[in-house]
C-alpha cells in the first residue's frame, strides 16, 4: 500500500548519521580536549552567531531575497517577540506574543 522511495530513505538515514556526527563530534574520543584560549573565547560568540545566522534570514528574506515590502507579518512578530523577551525574560512569552502579532497579520491581512 505504502509507496516507499528508497532513495529518500537513504537520504534520511544519512541525515541521521549527520546528526549523530555533529552532536557527538568531540564525544567519540575519550580524550579530554583542552581548548586553546582562542577557542574558549570563540565559544562565547559562536552559539549566538549561529542562531542569528539561521534566524535573521528567516525573518527578513523572501525566496532568497531581502523582502521588498513592509507588509510582512514576520518582521513585526520578530521585533515584538524579541522586545517581549527583554521585558519578561521568558521564551514562552516571546512565542505567544510573537504569534499574537503574526497570526492576525498573516491570516487576516495576508501579510
Amino acid at each position: 500500500m505504502m509507496d516507499i522511495n528508497w532513495h529518500t530513505v537513504v537520504i534520511v538515514l544519512g541525515l541521521t548519521v549527520v546528526t549523530v556526527l555533529a552532536r557527538g563530534f568531540f564525544l567519540f574520543s575519550n580524550r579530554t580536549w583542552s581548548l586553546p584560549h582562542w577557542a574558549q573565547r570563540g565559544l562565547q560568540y559562536a552559539p549566538i552567531a549561529a542562531l542569528a545566522a539561521v534566524v535573521v534570514p528567516e525573518v527578513v528574506m523572501v525566496n532568497g531575497h531581502l523582502m521588498d515590502t513592509w507588509k510582512d507579518a514576520r518582521l513585526y512578530a520578530g521585533i515584538v517577540g524579541a522586545a517581549v523577551y527583554f521585558w519578561r525574560k521568558d521564551v514562552l512569552f516571546t512565542i505567544v506574543a510573537g504569534m499574537a502579532v503574526y497570526m492576525p497579520l498573516h491570516v487576516g491581512l495576508g501579510w
Partner: protein
C-alpha cells in the same frame, strides 16, 4: 540518557523536566509544523515518519526538504545538513567537559539527544562542569531530564503534525512559532555587548551571503562574527589592576 536508572531516579532529572516545560510548547509548535511541512512537501508518509523519529534536527530536516524535492545529489544534501548542524559540533566540544567520565556510547548518545534548547538550558543551570562524582551525576541527570522533554515534545508533535497534515492549512504559518522560539533563545544569550555584536554581524552576513550554496552563508556568518568579536576583545584596553578606588 533518560533511559538509564541512575539518571531517571535522580532528583535533578525531575528538575530538568520541570525547567523544560517552558520551551516545550514552542518546540511542540515547531515540531507540529515540521511534521505538516514534511508530508505536504510530498516526501512521503514513511519517509516523513522516519525523518521525524531518527534525524531529530529541525533545521537540517527543513533545509533538506527542498533539496530532496529538487533531486540534489546525496552529498549536497548531507553536507548542507552538516553545515546547518555545525553549531552542535561546538556544543559537543563544550559538553565533553561535563560527560568525559561516561563510557563512549553514553557520551555519543547524550550528544545525539542534546538539541539547541536542552543545551542552552543545561549550560545556563550548570555554567561549570562539576569536579566530583555526585555533581557529575546530578548534571548528567538534569541533562537527561531536559533531553527527554525536548525529544518527547519534538517527536510527539512531529508525529501529530504528520497525522494532521491534511487538516491544518499551511497558510496559517504556525511554523513561525519555531523561529520565535529561536529568537527567544538568541535574546537569552545576548548577555554582553560583544555577544550582541556577534548576533548583529552574523545576522547581516547571513543575509548578505544567502546566495552561497550548501547553506554556507551560515558558516561564513559564524566565522565573520566570531573573528570580529575576538579582534574587538583584543582592542579593548586591559582592565587596570589597581586597587585604588
Amino acid at each position: 540518557m533518560f533511559f538509564l536508572r541512575e539518571n531517571y531516579r535522580h532528583p535533578e532529572f525531575q528538575v530538568g523536566i520541570r525547567d523544560f516545560m517552558r520551551p516545550a510548547p514552542g518546540i511542540a509548535a515547531w515540531g507540529l509544523m515540521t511534521g505538516v511541512a514534511m508530508v505536504k512537501s510530498g516526501i512521503g508518509l514513511f519517509e516523513s515518519l522516519l525523518m521525524a523519529l531518527l534525524v531529530f534536527a529541525g533545521s537540517s530536516q527543513l533545509a533538506s526538504i527542498p533539496l530532496i524535492l529538487a533531486g540534489a545529489p546525496l552529498w549536497v544534501i548531507w553536507a548542507t545538513g552538516f553545515c546547518v548542524n555545525l553549531r552542535f559540533v561546538v556544543f559537543s566540544l563544550h559538553l565533553h567537559h561535563y560527560l568525559a567520565h561516561l563510557p563512549g556510547w553514553q557520551r555519543v548518545m547524550s550528544g545525539y539527544f542534546t538539541a539547541d534548547l536542552s543545551y542552552v538550558w543545561f549550560v545556563r543551570r550548570y555554567p561549570h562542569p562539576s569536579g566530583d562524582g555526585a555533581g557529575k551525576l546530578a548534571q548528567q541527570a538534569y541533562l537527561a531530564g531536559s533531553n527527554l522533554m525536548n525529544w518527547g515534545s519534538w517527536v510527539g508533535s512531529s508525529l501529530v503534525g504528520i497525522a494532521l497534515a491534511n487538516l491544518v492549512p499551511q497558510s496559517w504559518g504556525l511554523g513561525f512559532a519555531g523561529i520565535l522560539c529561536l529568537i527567544g533563545i538568541l535574546c537569552s544569550l545576548a548577555t554582553t555587548r560583544l555577544r550582541l555584536l556577534s548576533a548583529a554581524v552574523a545576522g547581516l552576513v547571513g543575509v548578505a551571503a544567502f546566495a552561497l550554496p550548501l547553506k554556507l552563508n551560515i558558516i561564513v556568518a559564524i566565522g565573520a562574527a566570531v573573528i570580529l568579536c575576538m579582534s574587538m576583545e583584543k582592542l579593548r584596553p586591559p582592565v587596570p589592576e589597581v586597587a585604588g578606588s
